[in-house]
């Protein structure tokens, strides 16, 4: 149905993680945008118009939870997946606003299938 690849915005303060996801998701056929903090992510959501945001929570400056609020404030329907090393934010009511909560794992398939699941739910064609 779509003629262009799905655009993911991957937000993480760790360079190597960004690089990993960029490489992996490009292999999966996605277009990948990167941001290294919350502020930059909010900005890119507006300027680049990603289809889905993968958001780390613990970041210096504006953290993921705060960024989530701002992103949803600008684009109410944009799917957001929280991807974090912490399980504890699962109980934070702000994180309920996200479409999914994934605990970081070296097995990227977990995140990949979550992305696909959320995309299907949000009405994108199955990848």
């Amino acid at each position: 149905m779509r003629d262009r690849p799905i655009k993911l915005l991957i937000v993480d303060d760790e360079k190597n993680i960004r690089r990993l996801y960029e490489k992996a998701f490009k292999q999966y056929g996605y277009e990948v945008l990167l941001a290294e903090n919350g502020a930059s992510a909010v900005e890119k959501v507006e300027s680049e118009g990603p289809d889905l945001v993968i958001l780390d929570i613990r970041m210096p400056g504006m953290d993921g939870i705060e960024a989530l609020g701002k992103i949803l404030g600008k684009k109410r329907d944009i799917p957001v997946i929280l991807n974090t090393a912490y399980t504890s934010y699962q109980n934070n009511f702000m994180s309920w606003a996200a479409d999914a909560y994934v605990v970081k794992s070296s097995d990227i398939e977990v995140l990949k299938s979550k992305v696909e699941e959320v995309l299907v739910k949000k009405g994108f064609a199955s990848a």
Partner: protein
């Protein structure tokens, strides 16, 4: 009479040694031997014995064979109507002629009643002192109240002691302000008395032996006569009671046929209880406090109790009093020490709990921080390794190596996961939870492992649905960890029994396996964080279990037999929302 006789001249009688004819006698001798007339002079000893010419109270002539007059010193005693017991010392002096033949026998007589009485008195006193000494020695050896009571009662009644037939002890209780019967000793009747005394005299026991023979397993308070006296309970308000007066006035009473010396009438029901209206009451007290009363009597041999005996009993009673006081103080002290020890133990326990909780939470926090910090690099390492592996063909020479990197990273991630679970286990969010559902879900999650290891899981669930107040996620973790543990202990298959039972306010859950078991020396360590015997794993599985169970106000126990299997029992409080 004995007083005056002490000042009397010696009596003298001269006897002919060939025919024992009385040659002469002085008036003192006549008086001494209670011979009413001096008509005995000129008669032979035999005549006098035969015809009983000397019709005195005491007939020395028939009593003493005359040839004994040659023996020298003679001691004779006789009963006289006027003096109760007369002791006369006779000394004979054979007088020799120049040919060394006995010419006449001079018999000198002296009243030694007083002297003998003094001697007897002295020996009695020595005995009493010895008895007292034994008694106080025995008392000093013990701090056990029952033993003190035993020693007192035995000392008063033993043949080797004060020889009373029976003795009763009542102790004053400061709490109730009452005199309470405590223990007694003595036969119930004369038949039993005979048996006991025969028994005791057979064994040549000294008083020390008897007093030392106390058997804590058979305190005197068990005897029938003790039960009798224990029925007595007398309020100090009862000021007309002789027992109360004895105690409060610190005064002994010698009660004869229901009357104390001063015309006081004794408590009538006391005679009923004792079965006797003649007895002595001795107060027991120390400088500081009232201890009780001692009652003694001679129900069996009916011997009257003398004032001297009462005096002796008082001395006895003062020893007994301090013995009883000491043992009571000792017991109070012991109780206080025990109470102190209990509170100290409690304190220590709490302190240890606190310390442990603090340490765990510190360890937990630190572990959580470290775990999180490690997670990101692990994601990078493992993630890139996977990307690399994807690009390598199955035959690539480094394919196997990269698979190892992937597997090891996964293992590290598992450990991190465990540590994080452990550190968050303290914060449970409790909701009414269906325990059976949690168990079913956990088993489902482990289905593959269970099948792989050919383990048979037997569910013995109670019929009604146990609703408990729990964090279902954490509870799942508990059973997951326990079942995983069991599965790992059964490399070659086996059975896991999963049991739930309602026990009053609690739900009991048992996870029982037929695995290799846990060595005894490890049993008390398995719930400690970072304790592990496995090659893999952080040693947190069971620590997490214990932590979560604790957060659910439950308890967990383990029993295990090496080579046979292990059983974990978890007790969780049933929910108020219960079915």
């Amino acid at each position: 009479m004995p007083e005056s006789s002490a000042e009397m001249r010696d009596g003298m009688m001269v006897v002919n040694p060939s025919d024992f004819r009385i040659i002469s006698v002085n008036p003192e001798m006549l008086q001494l031997l209670r011979i009413p007339s001096d008509k005995i002079v000129g008669r032979t000893w035999y005549e006098l014995a035969k015809y009983q010419l000397a019709l005195g109270e005491f007939d020395i002539f028939s009593f003493l064979p005359p040839d004994r007059l040659l023996e020298g010193e003679l001691n004779i005693s006789f009963q006289s109507e006027t003096d109760s017991d007369v002791q006369v010392e006779l000394v004979s002096y054979p007088m020799l002629d120049p040919q060394q033949r006995v010419r006449e026998i001079v018999l000198l007589g002296r009243d030694v009643t007083q002297k003998k009485r003094f001697e007897a008195d002295l020996s009695r006193r020595v005995n009493e002192l010895a008895t007292l000494n034994e008694f106080s020695k025995a008392l000093q050896r013990t701090t056990d109240l029952n033993e003190v009571l035993y020693i007192t009662l035995v000392g008063v009644t033993a043949q080797q002691g004060l020889q009373f037939n029976r003795a009763f002890l009542l102790l004053f209780s400061p709490q109730t302000q009452k005199l309470e019967g405590r223990a007694a000793i003595g036969p119930c009747d004369s038949h039993e008395a005979g048996r006991i005394w025969a028994d005791l005299s057979e064994k040549a026991w000294t008083l020390g032996d008897i007093l030392g023979a106390y058997d804590p397993a058979r305190p005197l308070v068990d005897t029938a006569i003790s039960a009798q006296i224990r029925a007595v309970e007398l309020s100090l308000q009862n000021i007309n009671s002789l027992l109360v007066r004895a105690l409060t006035e610190k005064k002994s009473f010698n009660v004869i046929r229901g009357m104390a010396e001063e015309g006081l009438i004794s408590d009538p029901d006391l005679a009923d209880i004792l079965g006797s209206d003649t007895f002595a009451v001795i107060p027991l007290y120390t400088q500081k406090r009232e201890i009780g009363v001692l009652i003694v009597d001679n129900l069996i041999n009916r011997r009257s109790i003398t004032s001297t005996q009462v005096k002796l009993l008082e001395i006895f009673a003062s020893h007994a009093s301090s013995g009883i006081e000491t043992s009571q103080l000792y017991r109070d002290l012991q109780e206080k020490i025990r109470a102190l020890e209990r509170s100290r133990e409690k304190l220590q326990e709490n302190q240890q709990k606190l310390l442990r909780a603090e340490r765990l939470s510190t360890v937990g926090k630190m572990a959580a921080t470290v775990a999180h910090e490690i997670r990101n690099p692990l994601v990078a390492i493992g993630g890139f390794a996977r990307l690399l592996a994807k690009e390598m063909s199955g035959s690539h020479p480094m394919r196997e190596d990269i698979e190892i990197v992937i597997a090891e990273v996964m293992r590290l991630e598992k450990i991190v996961e465990n540590i994080l679970q452990y550190s968050t286990a303290q914060e449970a969010s409790l909701q009414p939870t269906d325990l059976h559902l949690v168990l079913a879900r956990t088993l489902e999650a482990l289905r593959l492992e269970i099948e792989e290891r050919k383990v048979n899981v037997v569910r013995e669930f109670c019929s009604d649905v146990p609703v408990i107040s729990a964090d279902s996620g954490q509870l799942t973790q508990v059973f997951y960890n326990l079942l995983m543990n069991s599965l790992q202990a059964m490399e070659r298959g086996g059975t896991i029994d999963l049991v739930t039972q309602k026990t009053g306010e609690n739900i009991l859950i048992k996870v029982r396996d037929t695995g290799c078991g846990i060595p005894v020396e490890h049993l008390n360590k398995i719930f400690t964080p970072f304790f592990s015997t496995k090659q893999s794993g952080a040693g947190l599985g069971l620590a997490v279990v214990a932590q979560i169970v604790d957060a659910h106000r439950g308890s967990i126990e383990v029993s295990s037999e090496e080579g046979r299997g292990t059983e974990f029992s978890i007790l969780l409080p049933a929910s108020d929302y219960g079915a």
